[in-house]
Symmetry: C2
């Protein structure tokens, strides 16, 4: 089974990488870009029947820093 | 309007970051993880009516390195 985990910085947490992208887009002449947030996405190929609970544990323990990041599990 | 851009390494391109995650999950005792690919996701807040063509240009020029990465645009 294939699973996609989205990890984004929580709202309110400063995102310097996103800010840099916003500035760079402006410098390249793209107008109207009011906000950019950058996160990561991890695609996992797991054994059939792996529970959402186990995947959540993977996120809590390794994939996301839950102090500043939130995660979302998507089955694909 | 809000747009999400997914950037992933193309199939066949070595993904050392994903490999590192796979090893780490194994070391943490999670079994059955056969493959991990890591990519990035960029959420953009754009002016209403920004065309997909313009967004594609942003990807080609800045957000993705199209030699090794592919991108996907998702409207949210």
């Amino acid at each position: 089974m294939k699973v996609r985990v989205h990890v984004m910085l929580k709202t309110g947490v400063l995102d310097p990488q996103g800010e840099a992208v916003r500035h760079a887009l402006g410098a390249l002449g793209f107008e109207g870009v009011s906000s950019v947030r950058q996160g990561k996405v991890i695609e996992l190929e797991l054994a059939e029947g792996t529970s959402d609970e186990t995947i959540g544990e993977m996120c809590e323990k390794l994939l996301a820093n839950t102090v500043i990041e939130s995660y979302r599990i998507e089955h694909i």
